[in-house]
Symmetry: C2
Subunit: 305 residues, 2 copies
């Protein structure tokens, strides 16, 4: 099949492209940065908000769209208008144009657990109300409803997947406020000290990028009758404390866990390291999965860095 993917040069996009190519799929990728995209895909370099770029992206027949391109959380806080332009306006245009070009096409949309907000109940499940606080999160949540509306009208066949922390991102500025979850992998793999900006007992929801990409490909193929009426599911994730994460990474890398020290930033800790119990029945019914256990999560995450 032919898959159109936006944000193809990003951390998650590259791994999805790698897996799609292994399956023998045709891939048409868009990214603002041509250098990040895999060889073997048709590369389009440009801004999602440029109508001519979207026209080129959708110019040939396609069987599915995976929409990852985004102004991420940290960048959206700094420039809310840029987030609105890309995360709302350009995405809305993309949905309209994909529906016109290929009516009823499967669209898989990367939303985020950030849509839940930061005042979470003791257990988050499929009934937990959305209450976004970050600009990024508000825009992601708005577009979840656009996916549902266009799907209910038969214009697209949409699936929203809400991503937990995806491990382990490359080093360097990503615009993601949650980058510390990945930076700890790089530090320990290199035997370097790491100052963790959240409490040792802080808990995160995590998934390796390998498993995340597998879930996107499952989402391309799943039967939408298995989805809730919102079309949105929170991806299954391993819930792990920072100290347990550190211990398992250190053990797998053969370095002392004492390389990790803690100097919590209260805002970061509140926003990213207070994840409660997580129940993801809707996603599991639709065939999506987490890594299995913490050891596999960390092995998977280490295997790609």
């Amino acid at each position: 099949m032919r898959v159109v993917i936006t944000g193809a040069g990003g951390f998650v996009g590259r791994e999805i492209c790698r897996q799609l190519l292994l399956r023998g799929d045709d891939v048409v990728g868009l990214d603002v940065n041509g250098g990040g995209m895999s060889n073997g895909i048709r590369k389009i370099v440009g801004e999602l908000s440029d109508p001519a770029v979207r026209r080129e992206l959708l110019s040939a027949d396609f069987d599915a769209v995976i929409h990852l391109a985004t102004v991420p959380g940290g960048a959206a806080e700094i420039d809310p208008a840029a987030s609105r332009g890309v995360n709302v306006d350009a995405m809305y245009d993309l949905l309209l144009e994909a529906a016109e070009r290929q009516p009823g096409v499967r669209v898989v949309y990367a939303s985020s657990i950030a849509v839940l907000g930061d005042a979470l109940p003791a257990t988050v499940d499929d009934q937990t109300p959305l209450s976004p606080k970050m600009i990024y999160a508000g825009h992601k949540a708005m577009m979840e409803h656009a996916i549902a509306m266009f799907s209910n009208r038969g214009m697209i066949d949409g699936v929203t997947v809400r991503l937990p922390g995806i491990l382990a991102r490359p080093k360097g500025p990503s615009g993601m406020k949650s980058a510390f979850m990945s930076d700890i992998f790089h530090a320990l793999k290199n035997g370097e000290p790491f100052e963790c900006p959240v409490h040792p007992d802080g808990t995160i929801w995590a998934q390796s990028v390998i498993t995340c990409a597998e879930n996107f490909i499952r989402a391309v193929h799943l039967d939408s009758a298995l989805l809730p009426p919102t079309r949105a599911v929170t991806l299954p994730a391993i819930r792990i404390s920072l100290q347990d994460l550190a211990a398992e990474i250190a053990s797998q890398c053969g370095v002392p866990v004492s390389l990790v020290s803690y100097n919590p930033d209260l805002a970061l800790d509140a926003a990213f390291a207070r994840q409660p119990l997580l129940v993801t029945s809707a996603a599991e019914r639709a065939g999506l999965a987490h890594d299995g256990n913490p050891a596999i999560l960390i092995r998977n995450a280490l295997s790609l860095i």
Copy 2:
């Protein structure tokens, strides 16, 4: 207090203005049609999507914004781009500008039960997921998240109220697909026959415009700590079948109920006359209410036509 109200010349807006003036409040109203607005308010005539009009609307200090202006359901289906322009883009700009002018201001936003979609469970309550199908409904749902996000950031103090069928609208084209619920009042009050476009056993959720306006004014004053994390509540409503509605109107008007005949339109019946049981605990906790019983609902509705 001073209240800014958009859509002030509309059916609901006029009654809110009347009640605000009775309370002694100052009212600044916006409408595309100057003729519809009450005397006694400061009238601004223009389009919500015109930045200069919004600037004038927000030029003096204010204590609350009631946002009613909308491209309604039927009109939005005909012109989805107009709905996007007013119901999403212009409203988003209005929220940003109100927050900048008067940080933390109370904003009461008129959403609609249409956000729930048309495949409803046997009982609708505060946990029922949103699954909009109409363009209007998708846009209303998107902006519910914008209200929550801006409120969680302290930029505004938002309250979303989802309106059921509001009775009885004036005769004539309103752009509302649910106009039949009001037209039956006008016909029977005038002793004229009425052909009802939904089944006699079809059920609707209804509130009189008097009670609806009271709820908006309560929403201006309520303590937002009483609201759910979404900031959105479905207004309490009387659930009544079309045949019971017809019988009560006929009785109160002293005309034979045989004036009403039924010629169901399947699409209209499915979209507007299959309202299941309704539980509105969140709204009731916040102090919002329905008319009390069907006889009062219909007396209230008849009193203003």
